[in-house]
């Protein structure tokens, strides 16, 4: 009951959070330096041409009028359309987001398993060889830039060993994509029952997932280590041992104490990766959300940038809300009155 009440309040708060995301998306973009008109028209355009483009894009009208228009559009599900391709932003988001979500979720799973494992190993054997070994691995993972790791993995696993397919996107050039249901290829190919495409999708995800998984495992390892060491030294764990509990159970007790910070870190990483995987997406021609956002920003495609901020903001909002509710479910001491 305690948790249900809290969950309801958190969900009721969502619209307020969403409105601030909308305002933020609008203001950030409209306060952004750079004049899209000049970029669109090109260096050779004359003043009349520029004025014409400005009028067409609606940029000659006052800020508040544009905001009201924007809000009205949002209510109708209209996020505007790209300055360049004229495609509706909403359908662009729906096209790109699933690819990124698939990548980010798989990467986070790999990162969490690897990182929590490494962090636990180090924390449990604190001060001993395993601790130093784990710390060395984690430091190495963290000090290699993610793009470099991607290139290294491509070089080793594709170019030299030939284990992985070429980094040409989510599928091979010859593969026929399954009919889009969720937009996530792994899911859609399973729905279509097309195992050839599924295997190809898995093979193509391998290196980008491994890159992000390895890179971000360092963060999980550090937060696991940082929260598990004090948990293992706590009076609670000492009492558990004094009662004769086996080490397995003792470790489980320590984890129960340490899991909230680890989970919180996972949530933050999820939010950060929604747009932050852009470089890796670009390297692997992933056709994802972050890649789309970077392109839009470089082209000053303002409706697209707005759409990106809105979607990423909404994703973050949902992730944090789910996380807070999860933490409340897991910790009976959390009270919110």
């Amino acid at each position: 009951m305690r948790v249900l009440g809290y969950a309801r309040r958190r969900v009721l708060f969502l619209p307020v959070g969403l409105l601030s995301v909308v305002v933020l998306a609008f203001l950030l973009v409209n306060a952004l330096p750079g004049n899209p008109v000049g970029v669109i028209a090109g260096p050779a355009a004359g003043p009349e041409e520029l004025a014409e483009i400005e009028r067409r894009l609606g940029l000659d009208r006052p800020l508040w009028e544009r905001f009201v228009d924007y809000l009205g559009g949002l209510v109708r599900g209209d996020l505007g359309s790209s300055y360049y391709t004229d495609r509706p932003i909403l359908s662009e988001i729906l096209r790109f987001a699933p690819a990124t979500l698939e990548l980010v979720i798989l990467s986070l799973i790999v990162a969490a398993v690897l990182g929590v494992g490494l962090g636990t190993l180090g924390a449990y054997h604190k001060g001993r060889l395993a601790d130093r070994g784990s710390r060395f691995v984690v430091t190495t993972f963290q000090s290699i830039p993610d793009f470099f790791l991607a290139l290294l993995l491509i070089y080793l696993c594709f170019y030299l060993a030939g284990w992985a397919p070429a980094p040409v996107g989510r599928l091979g050039l010859m593969d026929e994509p399954p009919p889009a249901v969720t937009g996530a290829l792994l899911v859609d190919s399973l729905i279509a029952g097309d195992m050839t495409v599924f295997r190809s999708a898995v093979a193509h995800s391998m290196l980008p997932v491994l890159t992000l998984g390895i890179y971000y495992s360092a963060y999980f390892a550090r937060s696991t280590y940082a929260s598990l060491v004090p948990a293992l030294e706590s009076k609670q764990v000492e009492f558990a041992r004094a009662c004769g509990l086996p080490e397995r159970t003792v470790l489980a007790y320590a984890f129960r104490q340490a899991r909230t910070p680890i989970l919180t870190y996972g949530g933050i990483l999820l939010a950060a990766l929604l747009g932050g995987a852009a470089i890796i997406e670009t390297i692997f021609s992933w056709g994802g959300f972050g890649e789309w956002a970077i392109d839009s920003i470089l082209q000053l495609d303002m409706p697209a940038v707005q759409g990106f901020i809105l979607a990423a903001g909404l994703g973050t909002l949902l992730a944090f809300t789910a996380l807070d509710i999860l933490v409340a479910v897991l910790d009976p001491r959390v009270r919110y009155d």
């Binding site: 604190k126 001060g127 001993r128 293992l232 030294e233 706590s234 009076k235 609670q236 000492e238 009492f239 558990a240 041992r241 004094a242 009662c243 004769g244 509990l245 086996p246 159970t249 007790y253 129960r256 104490q257 897991l330 910790d331 009976p332 001491r333």
Partner: protein, 343 residues
């Protein structure tokens, strides 16, 4: 402090030699160090003492003198950077320090119960009390949840908790301090151990509750003929609840004996200082000044020399030999030689 408890109605087993039945617990030469960045901390330095059957032994000494580390060493709970470097702790003749981890684990909880200092930091805050009882029983081979529930109910009833089910289905933070400590005691007694170790079991509780808890523990110990090692820094508690007492200073035992001997005629200047610091009618209150010596740069000779009003020449050079009286009281002080000579 009132006069020490004189009613020694229970046998103290002093007549039993090591040649007949092994003592319940016999600790000798126990030495534990912590290898910290600041240097090697000499936390416990050659501690000897014993606990007999059906006996309550108090361990006193100011904070930081090594009481908890001694207990942790006996139970095999010292973690790196700490290490037990020397000594034995024979429990029914078996050296606990020589046991394999799994064997020692099976003794903990089953034959040696542990009552922790602060129940709220000892109990798992995010696990229902029932599950914690069940885990202890499962660790010792009792895996049925229904049996676990019955055993937990009985254990809670034994510590005077009237509605055990409500407690079992709840969490630690929903309990009062006294109730939570009762739950910890119930866990320590759950598997009917012959020996109980309590590390300052009433710190942080208010005075009336402290009495109730100590009475409860003593009752549970005496009813079942158990023994207990009771760590405290309160001489009043020692006087009222213990049969014998071990006084520690800077990781060493400096005096031990029956409570009556040690508290009415303390021989070691540190014990004398502890006794003088307890308010008693007709006696001036004298507080001990100064601090424990640096445990990293451990002093040669007697560790108490820097604070001792009687310190003289040999004190800075060698640690004194023990002096034992007919009643079995032993203390480690160079003054004993002077006293001999004066005789």
């Amino acid at each position: 402090m009132s006069a020490p408890r004189q009613a020694l109605s229970r046998p103290t087993n002093t007549g039993q030699g090591a040649d007949r039945e092994p003592r319940l617990l016999e600790v000798s030469g126990l030495t534990t160090r912590f290898d910290t960045p600041d240097g090697l901390v000499h936390a416990v330095n050659g501690v000897d003492f014993h606990v007999d059957r059906a006996e309550i032994v108090g361990v006193v000494g100011e904070s930081g003198c090594g009481k908890s580390v001694t207990i942790r060493s006996i139970l095999g709970l010292v973690r790196p950077p700490g290490r037990v470097v020397e000594g034995t702790a024979r429990f029914n003749g078996v050296d606990l320090l020589g046991l394999r981890a799994a064997e020692l684990r099976r003794l903990r909880g089953a034959e040696i119960g542990f009552i922790a200092q602060n129940p709220f930091s000892a109990l798992n805050p995010v696990m229902r009390i029932h599950r914690q009882f069940a885990n202890i029983l499962a660790a010792h081979g009792i895996r049925s949840d229904a049996i676990a529930r019955d055993r937990a109910r009985d254990a809670l009833a034994d510590v005077g908790i009237a509605g055990p089910d409500r407690v079992l289905d709840g969490y630690a933070h929903q309990l009062s301090g006294g109730m939570a400590q009762r739950v910890v005691i119930a866990m320590a007694m759950l598997l009917n151990p012959a020996f109980v170790i309590a590390d300052e079991p009433t710190t942080g509780l208010d005075l009336t509750v402290q009495r109730q808890i100590l009475d409860l523990i003593r009752g549970l110990v005496q009813q079942h003929g158990r023994s207990m090692l009771l760590v405290t820094h309160d001489l009043g508690v020692v006087a009222q609840y213990c049969d014998r007492v071990v006084v520690m200073y800077a990781g060493k035992v400096i005096e031990h004996g029956s409570v009556r001997d040690v508290l009415t005629s303390p021989q070691h200047p540190y014990t004398q200082a502890l006794v003088r610091a307890v308010p008693r009618p007709g006696h001036p209150l004298v507080h001990l000044t100064g601090r424990l010596p640096d445990l990293v740069d451990y002093p040669a000779g007697c560790p108490f020399q820097a604070r001792c009003p009687h310190a003289f020449e040999p004190c800075g050079q060698v640690f004194p030999e023990p002096t034992t009286s007919a009643s079995g009281r032993t203390y480690w002080c160079h003054l004993s030689q002077e006293r001999e000579a004066a005789r």
